[in-house]
Amino acid sequence: MKGGCTRRDMLLGAVGLGGLLCGCSPGEQTADREFLIVEASHPTKREPTSAGKFYALMGIAETLVNVDDRGHISTGLALHWEMSADGLEWRFDLRPGAHFHDGTPVTAEPVVRMLERARKRPGVMHVVPIAAIAAHEGRVIIRLATPSALLLPVLAHDSTIILAPASFDAADQAVQVIGSGPYRITGITEQEVAVEAWERWGGVPPAIHRARYLSAARPETRALLSESGQANAVFDLDWPSERRLRDAGHVHIVDIASPRTTLLKLNVGHPFLADLRARQALSLAVDRLAIATGLFGNADRAATQLLPEFFTDWHDKNLPRLHTDVAQAQRLLAELGWQPGADGILLRGDERFALKLLSLATRTDQPLITAALQQQFRRIGVEISVIPCSPAEIVAAHRDGTLELAMFARNHMMVANPVAVLMQDYAKGGADWGAMGWNNPDMIAALQTLASGAAPERAAALRQQIVQTLQAELPVIPLIFNRRIAAFDKRLANVQVDALERSYNMAAMRWAD
């Protein structure tokens, strides 16, 4: 009995090994070569308002308008648009001949339905004072309560992707993703999505016909997928992987500035942090350059102000840089009555300068930065205990006021105009992913003026005012500028990386061989 079983097992094993050897055979024709693209996030959800980013990145779904990698609005599903003289009514003409992947034409009605649907859910739509959305003679009409410069950026946001009505079940739950982009889904599982070029796509037919997305949570996996030649494009590499791939030289590395900034959120209402001098002391304690070079091998990543050079209109080269000065930090804290205790941690009466820092558990770079911060704060007598957490815990702690410090990377170009994000984050009392307990009516007014549209010179002055306020008041402490690092197969031509994380630009790439 047992003997027979073992023999059968061996046979199966041999078959398995045989199958393994023909696993990847080189020398396919470029036409039917499958393009493999790898990043960390899971395509588990179908809900467009939360998972729209993925479907936009893959070129599966489109938004009404688009945004290029410098943040300029371009055409999307809408080929033309016009604004009424009072700035309150916007009319959009859809691209003629656009079809959803189920063959139904993209008309104004499904677009209106999707925009209304997005409005009902939490999300960026709420920064625009929309009064009504309607379909009229084949056009999409959006009426605003007050003029807004943010409408187009919001319509370019990936939570407003347009899907065919058949994507939803009777309860309005998204059950599949039927978009109108250059690629349509042919297979979707927990971690992989296979697509092929959509033959009724109106634009230039993509040179890459078949592609697959693979979600790989670990940077090492992603790097090895690239190194082994299995993956053609790999995004979100960490520093050790990037360095390794650069040294190996088999692949082409693209490393561009990203609009994300890793920052420290502080509870300005906290008795230790309410005084500006305390926040300045914390900022002075951080050795950004050491972190940027020691942990990421790139001195340019030291955040000298909240918004990186990526934001050409916003980044102010003349602004006094955030810098390190331990002695000054200690002086500032001494002014506030803090004195070092026996173990070097500052004491004020029976208070001890010890704070909890919430840090996102899933990001691989965060533990490194928090470990460095812990040590650097200790130099000025501030004790930090790091608590790994989920995003939800940061939001919850913000709400119930128990948050002391939190660290995360904020994408200020989440919407194509940073005003949208800044308005949310630095509204009165702050917001989940921005300030906390901090209020600056002048800055809020400046943001609102910018949001409703301002003349270029006035806008520039307002932007400078906002940036200076943020740098002076430190409602959050900028730490590190993030970068978007990707590795590409050297056989690829016309490789472009979109810093805004809006598109993988797959439709524009082609095989060089």
Binding site: R218, P219, E220, D238, P240, S241, R243, R244, D287, A290, I291, T293, G294, L295, S359, A361, T362, T364, P367, L368, T370, A371, A372, Q374, Q375, V386, I387, P388, C389
Partner: protein, 262 residues
């Protein structure tokens, strides 16, 4: 099985590891948390005996602290699991009947819960706490001891040796001390050695999937997952904790591989 000398070397190495864990942190005299971001990923030799890690900390100092914390916690977690498992296993084998049936049912029930889920749930109460992770792991470990002890003790308690001891007037304590424990002990030692390694590796695995201990605590498993991304830039970083654990394990396995008396 093996001659005398491998066992002697194993014992000597184990003593050395224990000494490293106990006295290392004091002898080395370096702060394992002291960073120097200007000197990260320095290779062994040079200023630091084992080089520096990704934050420019002394690997030697961290390894010593990690050995101390990991071995202590692994020992605590494994021995608390063993104490729980051995006492319930003995109770089941000794009394039998409904007592045994209830204990077996509880153990089976616990086995049916995915241990991983239990660990996830417990850790969610206080993420990143070292002791909690070990406690959660030991909660999943005790069943193995229960099953082994019950299975080993039952035939012994039913055997003529114990019958003879009872006839001679010996009580429960004596029978367990002289008859049951000597038979169970070698098995337990092996189980505990592997259990300790399993615990350290479980911490490493949890760290890898981002639910483990948060830095800067130096812990062997946590070091493995923390240093893993540098496997090619600085292979000595991940090699150090793995080598320490493997050596300890091999020595314990050598010591425990004593043959049964015929």
């Amino acid at each position: 099985m093996m001659g005398g000398w491998p066992r002697r070397i194993a014992a000597a190495l184990l003593i050395a590891i224990a000494a490293f864990a106990l006295a290392g942190p004091v002898l080395i005299g370096l702060d394992p948390a002291q960073q120097d971001l200007g000197r990260t990923l320095m290779p062994p030799g040079g200023g630091d005996l084992l080089g520096t890690d990704n934050l420019g900390r002394s690997l030697l100092a961290r390894l010593a602290q990690a050995a101390q914390i990991s071995f202590l916690l692994a020992l605590l977690s494994v021995s608390s699991a063993a104490i729980a498992g051995v006492s319930t296993g003995l109770a089941a084998a000794w009394w039998g009947g409904w007592m045994e049936r209830i204990l077996v049912a509880i153990a089976d029930m616990m086995l049916a819960i995915p241990g991983l889920l239990l660990v996830f749930l417990l850790i969610a109460f206080a993420p990143g706490e070292v002791w909690l992770i070990y406690a959660a792991i030991s909660l999943t470990l005790w069943i193995e001891y229960f099953r082994v002890v019950r299975a080993t003790a039952r035939p012994i308690l039913a055997g003529s040796e114990v019958q003879a001891a009872r006839l001679l007037g010996f009580g429960a304590t004596y029978i367990i001390r002289r008859h049951v424990l000597p038979e169970v002990a070698p098995l337990l030692l092996t189980l505990m050695a592997y259990g300790a390694a399993t615990t350290v590796l479980a911490v490493a695995s949890l760290g890898y999937i981002n639910v483990g201990i948060h830095p800067p605590t130096a812990e062997l498993g946590q070091m493995m997952s923390e240093y893993f991304p540098y496997y090619r830039a600085a292979p000595w970083l991940i090699a150090a904790p793995i080598t320490l654990l493997a050596t300890g394990l091999l020595c314990l396995a050598l010591l425990a591989s004593r043959d049964k008396p015929q």
